[in-house]
Structure formats: structure tokens, C-alpha cells
């Protein structure tokens, strides 16, 4: 069934707004400027198709997704993967290594994932191991969408994926960038940062009053209880996504070492 989605076109400002209410466990919005209604709608439909495809691969809450099937079957033996999910898990391994083990899609022990190159299959060392691409999938999706937007020559748009993963292509029609702000979740009314982005991705991860303890330090196995937020701005939306999750649990020294391995424009960290 199609996800509830809608779009609207504002003729006077040539502004297109497309939204999908529930995709990959969150809401997706895009504002595109300067294109005709038909062109914008065609691009939006391409984006929607791609998001649905990724959802069917990566959503662990969907029993039919490839990741869900992997989680159910891999503790019983090697499960052959599609080329794309194989590449994704290999990429997660790479991120695990360059974040000194802090980025971990198993939230437990990444070494519990056994890779078999020959037939691109994976098995889990124990029944406790599962893969949760929560800190990866939105970044990966934005990376794919970035390519679709570029292929369609969309030069001015703002993508908001779940209110925490942002892509700013070109600039706001009345400014020379897109401006993004974040409120202190513990002190209503206090804006903790305003950042200008242009042809950049921005990812935010932070504890909110309703924080569910989903960010777990793989070494201590404990959920971080620090009241803080991390925001990363860089060209690659996947790097931004992985880094915000990682930096939420990284100590100062780990943080400096990890950041040397990424091309990052800026990192903002706030503690309350």
C-alpha cells in the first residue's frame, strides 16, 4: 500500500512541497524551488519510489524487509544478501572500524556479524545479535536522494527527514544559504544554535526529555544518560548521520581521533 503522501505547488514562488507522512519510521518533507509543478512532481515521485524501495530493504519494523528477514534467520546460518544490503553491511563495518568501534549497528558486538565474501552472505554468531540500521538508514537514504536530485538538476531544495537529518541544496530563495536552528529541549525558548548550510547535510542527535535510551555505548553496554546534543555538518549525509550517533557516546580523545578520519565542516556539541 502506498504511504500517505501529498504535495502542493505554490505558483507565485514556484515552490513545491512534497511530504510522506510515514516512511522508514519517520516523516519525510522536501521543498523544491524554481522548477515547474510537473518537473517537481516527477522528481518527488522518483524520490518517493526510492524511499519505498529502501524501506523494503532496511526497515527493521517491517517483517518483510530484508533486514528483518536477516535478523530472524542469520543466527541459524548464513543468509545470502542482495548486493545492496551486502554493501551496506560492509559499509557499516568500515564505519565501525573508523569510529574505533563506537558506531555499531548491533549495539552489542559487531564481531558477532560474520561475513562470507563468496556468496555475499552473513550469519550471526549468536541468537542475541541483531542489526539495527537506525543510525545509518536515514543518512544512506539521503545519500541516494542527493544523487537523484543531482541527476534531475535540482539546484535549490531543502530536505527534512524526520526533523533531524537535513539536506540543504543551493540556498533559501531570500538568503544565500538555508538556516537551521535547534531548541534546547530542556529549556523551552532557548535556541542553542543556528547554522547556515549550503550544499551540505546536517544531522542532529540529542537527548530529549522523552529520550528512550536508544544510544548505547558498545563497550559499557549502557545507554548514555548525558544531557547533550550533537550536530554535524558535512557534505556526505551518511557521514553526518553516523558521526552524530558516534559522537553522542565518544569521549574527548576518541572524538578528536575519529573526526580526523572524516571530512567534516563543523561539529556542534551542547550539554545541559
Amino acid at each position: 500500500m502506498d504511504e500517505p503522501c501529498y504535495f502542493n505547488y505554490f505558483e507565485s514562488s514556484k515552490t513545491f512541497h512534497g511530504a510522506i507522512r510515514n516512511i522508514m519510521g519517520t516523516r519525510f518533507d522536501i521543498v523544491m524551488l524554481g522548477e515547474s509543478r510537473a518537473q517537481s512532481a516527477a522528481v518527488f515521485m522518483d524520490l518517493k519510489r526510492e524511499l519505498r524501495r529502501l524501506d523494503s530493504l532496511l526497515n527493521r519494523f517491517d517483517d518483510e524487509s530484508e533486514i528483518s528477514k536477516l535478523n530472524v534467520r542469520a543466527s541459524s546460518g548464513f543468509v545470502p544478501l542482495s548486493a545492496e544490503v551486502w554493501a551496506i553491511l560492509c559499509d557499516c563495518k568500515r564505519y565501525h572500524e573508523i569510529t574505533d568501534g563506537l558506531f555499531d549497528v548491533t549495539k552489542d558486538d559487531f564481531s558477532g556479524i560474520l561475513f562470507r565474501e563468496g556468496d555475499r552472505s552473513v550469519s550471526f554468531a549468536s541468537g542475541k545479535t541483531t542489526v539495527d540500521l537506525g543510525g545509518y538508514a536515514k543518512g544512506y537514504a539521503l545519500l541516494r536522494l542527493q544523487q537523484i536530485l543531482s541527476d534531475n538538476n535540482v539546484g535549490q531544495c531543502f530536505v527534512d527527514f524526520g526533523n533531524s537529518s537535513i539536506l540543504g541544496v543551493g540556498h533559501h530563495p531570500f538568503g544565500d544559504s538555508w538556516k537551521v536552528s535547534m531548541e534546547n529541549p530542556y529549556r523551552r525558548g532557548e535556541t542553542v544554535f543556528e547554522i547556515d548550510i549550503r550544499d551540505r547535510a546536517l544531522s542532529v542527535s540529542g537527548n530529549r526529555p522523552e529520550y528512550s535510551g536508544h544510544i548505547i555505548h558498545p563497550a559499557t553496554k549502557k545507554a548514555t544518560d548525558e544531557r547533550k546534543a550533537v550536530c554535524v555538518v558535512c557534505k556526505n549525509p551518511l557521514d553526518a548521520e553516523v558521526l552524530t550517533t558516534t559522537l553522542m557516546i565518544a569521549g574527548d580523545k576518541e572524538k578528536n581521533d575519529i573526526l580526523k578520519r572524516f571530512e567534516v565542516d563543523s561539529v556542534y556539541e551542547y550539554k545541559w
Binding site: F158, S164, T191
Partner: protein, 441 residues
């Protein structure tokens, strides 16, 4: 009837239809009583007749009216008058069959003219209007009404004694988005009207090129006190009229400060004014105009306890929608309002000391024109052509437009009192001797 004429006639009918005249005539007339002479039936009455029009003053604004008149099936330009030869020549090229004059007194003697359009410098408005009414002509005069309080009163009284039609070009009174906006205010959309904020900002010297120094005051008449009160009579006049229209009141007093801040080029009128007009119920109009910075553009905001309506942009905003909008809704509202501001990621951003982003609602569904306030001549579809068309119709029917002169009188006298408040640096009360029955304080 030519194809062009058919289109214009259809346009007039559409204007009336868009206003909901047929469906809501009585309610409409409560808000815009001057439209009672502008009904579909009356349009039918004048179908085959033409108002014979003479123009006095055919500079840029006069020529703007000529272009509009040439599109009207019920108007014929028969005479042109100007004492500046290049203007007369340019106007004659637009309507080569018209007779030309250099003395308006000769023009108003002509028997083949039903109505005159006065588009001269402000200091000529009163005398030409009075002479034209005396000569039995219907008159459509540019705003403001006149240069002094006494002249305004003299024109008002002459009009009351006359059976002739008199219009002043306060074109917002015929602009669909204003009419619908005022109806929304009167219907309680904004709750109680608690304030008004109007401003008109431009960044230009307000000058026109002068071929010879002895023509400076003739051409740049807006800059000299003998012929204008500058920003007050040329710009504020429209906006104060709108505030009175929205509140159905006239302010009791005014304070203000005026200066020549930037354009120190020998002009005598202020290039920067800030005023506060005070209504009897405590509501105030905060008015500001500056012509050395255009950041804020032109706006007319009517502030209510439940919302704000910006009549100039045709958008309204409700107080209870100020917070809790999604980031994207806020971004869309920004783009609609031409504002560059932050999009709140990771939670709604609420900033107490800066302007919040409200959801913008259009007063009119579909496309409509918004005047950016930058043109010194006139804007497209700002109500001027509808008002002129209504006047031409009135030249045929002889029916006066209710409250048109009264609205212009109130707005102009308020401009003049504001100017006095700034020059004398004191609070100026509305003088008893200039109050007219139309005004409610």
C-alpha cells in the same frame, strides 16, 4: 463592440462577481458603500454610452490613467491639458484625436466634456477641483485631496453643495484584496482590532530628471513644501485611509517626528517620518516611512486580538497558529512571506525575542496582485483602473459614490495633521472646526 472592449467589459463584471456582489450585496455595501453605484444592473444601463473625459495634468500618472481609459468601452478621451509641453506631446501620441489645452480653465469651459481627471501636483488639486465643479464637470482627482486643511474643507463643502460626482483616487477602496480583507476584519476574524502598523519604505531619491534648473520645482514638486507634504500626502495618505476604513474610526490626535536623514539635496520635505495616531478607544496606528532603506517594503498590518491581517500583501495570520508549526510549514510560510529565517530542526524552535513564524493565509483564493510599493507612478491591478472605470460610469449616470470624498477628506486631513505634529513637535488634536459628520472618533 471590438474584441478588446468585450474583454474589458467582462473584466468589470468579473470584478463585481469576485467581490461577491450578487450573493452578498447588502453585507458588501456595509463595508464598501461606494460600490452601490457600481452594480451589474447599472453596468447594463450605460452599455452604449461613453463618458467624455478631459485630463488635466498628463505627466506619468496622467498617462497611466490614459492607458487605463483607452481600455474602457464606456470612456472617451476628448481633451488633454498640461502646461509642460513634453508631457502634452507624449499624451497626445496616446490619444491623437483629443483636443489639447495649456490652460485648464479653457478646458473646463468646453461643453463636450462630462468629467475631468486631475493628475497635477498637489497644490493644484483644490483650485482645479473647485473650478471644475463650478463649471459643472464631474471630477476624478488624484490623492491627496489638497495641500491644506482649509482647502480640504472648501472642497468638501463645495462637493456637498454640488450635484456633480467627485472621486479622489484612493485606489485601495477598489482593490479586491483590501475589500475582502476589510470584510474579514469586520466579520471578527481578527477579534478586537487592537492596533495598526503601517510602513512604506523605499530606497531612492524620489527625484525625476530635470532638463533645466528652472523646472526643478515644477517637475520635482513632491520635494517642496509649496506643492507637497512629501511622504505624508504622497504615501501615508493611502495607508491612513485603510486604517480608518478597517477601524471605522478617525484618530483623535497624532504625535510624530520627521527629518531629512539621507537625501540632503535641497529638498524641503522629510525623507524619514515616524508617527503615532491615537484613536479614541486607545488603538494606535504606528506609522513609519523612509526612502533611504527599502528592507521593510510596504505593509499595512491591522492587528487584532486573534490575528493580524496585512492588507498590502493580502495575507492574514492567526495568533493561535504562531507556535507548533512543523519546520517545513514554517519554511513554506517564510518563502510565502519572502522572509529568510531559521528552520527549526530537532524540535520546534521558539524564540521569545524575535518574530515568530505564523502560517500565512491568503485573503483571496487563487492569484492576486501585490504591489511592492516601489513604483512612483502606479501599480498593476491596484484598484486604480476599477476606480476610474466606476468614475466614468458615474459621469454617465450622475450618481455620486457614497463616502469616497469623506474617506479622502479624513485621510488627507490626518496626513496634514501628522505633518503639523512633526513640524511643531507636539501632539496635535483633530481640530473641531474640521470635523465632518462622517467621522467617528
Amino acid at each position: 463592440m471590438s474584441k478588446k472592449e468585450k474583454q474589458v467589459d467582462a473584466g468589470l463584471r468579473q470584478f463585481i462577481k469576485d467581490l461577491g456582489y450578487v450573493a452578498g450585496g447588502a453585507a458588501l455595501l456595509g463595508t464598501v458603500p461606494w460600490l452601490q453605484s457600481f452594480t451589474p444592473d447599472k453596468l447594463d444601463e450605460i452599455k452604449k454610452e461613453k463618458a467624455r473625459i478631459g485630463l488635466i495634468g498628463v505627466g506619468s500618472r496622467g498617462q497611466y490613467h490614459i492607458h487605463n481609459l483607452l481600455e474602457m468601452p464606456h470612456a472617451k478621451i476628448v481633451a488633454l491639458c498640461d502646461n509642460y509641453e513634453p508631457n502634452l506631446k507624449a499624451a497626445l501620441e496616446l490619444c491623437p484625436d483629443a483636443k489639447t489645452y495649456t490652460d485648464y480653465k479653457k478646458l473646463i469651459e468646453a461643453k463636450d466634456i462630462d468629467g475631468v481627471i486631475v493628475a497635477t501636483p498637489l497644490n493644484w488639486h483644490a483650485v482645479i477641483t473647485l473650478d471644475s465643479l463650478s463649471a459643472g464637470k464631474h471630477v476624478f482627482c488624484e490623492k491627496a485631496m489638497a495641500l491644506t486643511m482649509e482647502e480640504c474643507k472648501a472642497v468638501y463643502e463645495a462637493y456637498k453643495q454640488s450635484d456633480r460626482v467627485l472621486y479622489f483616487c484612493m485606489q485601495r477602496m477598489f482593490d479586491e484584496k483590501y475589500i475582502k480583507g476589510i470584510r474579514m476584519i469586520r466579520s471578527g476574524l481578527l477579534g478586537d482590532v487592537v492596533g495598526a502598523r503601517c510602513h512604506w519604505f523605499r530606497n531612492n531619491d524620489w527625484r525625476r530628471p530635470v532638463p533645466s534648473p528652472n523646472l526643478e520645482k515644477h517637475i520635482n514638486w513632491r520635494l517642496y513644501r509649496e506643492s507637497s507634504c512629501g511622504l505624508m500626502t504622497e504615501l501615508a495618505c493611502h495607508q491612513l485611509e485603510v486604517c480608518n476604513w478597517a477601524t471605522a474610526l478617525t484618530p483623535k490626535s497624532v504625535v510624530g517626528i520627521g527629518d531629512i536623514v539621507h537625501w540632503k539635496d535641497g529638498r524641503e520635505v522629510y525623507d524619514s517620518v515616524s508617527l503615532a495616531y491615537h484613536y479614541g478607544n486607545g488603538v494606535k496606528i504606528t506609522y513609519e516611512s523612509l526612502i533611504a532603506n527599502k528592507f521593510n517594503g510596504m505593509e499595512e498590518q491591522i492587528l487584532g486580538s486573534k490575528g493580524t491581517l496585512n492588507l498590502a500583501t493580502g495575507m492574514y495570520y492567526l495568533e493561535d497558529e504562531a507556535e507548533g508549526n512543523s519546520a517545513i510549514e514554517q519554511l513554506l510560510a517564510q518563502i510565502g512571506d519572502k522572509v529568510f529565517s531559521a528552520v527549526p530542526a530537532a524540535g520546534a524552535s521558539w524564540r521569545p525575542e524575535t518574530k515568530k513564524v505564523y502560517k500565512a493565509h491568503p485573503v483571496i483564493k487563487g492569484k492576486f496582485n501585490v504591489n511592492d510599493g516601489m513604483s512612483m507612478i502606479g501599480a498593476e491591478k491596484d484598484g486604480s483602473d476599477e476606480m476610474l472605470s466606476s468614475f466614468c460610469q458615474a459621469c454617465i449616470t450622475g450618481e455620486k459614490g457614497r463616502d469616497i470624498v469623506e474617506e479622502a477628506y479624513s485621510a488627507t486631513t490626518l496626513c496634514l495633521l501628522g505633518d503639523r505634529a512633526m513640524r511643531e513637535q507636539r501632539c496635535v488634536e483633530y481640530p473641531e472646526e474640521f470635523k465632518i459628520p462622517f467621522m467617528k472618533f
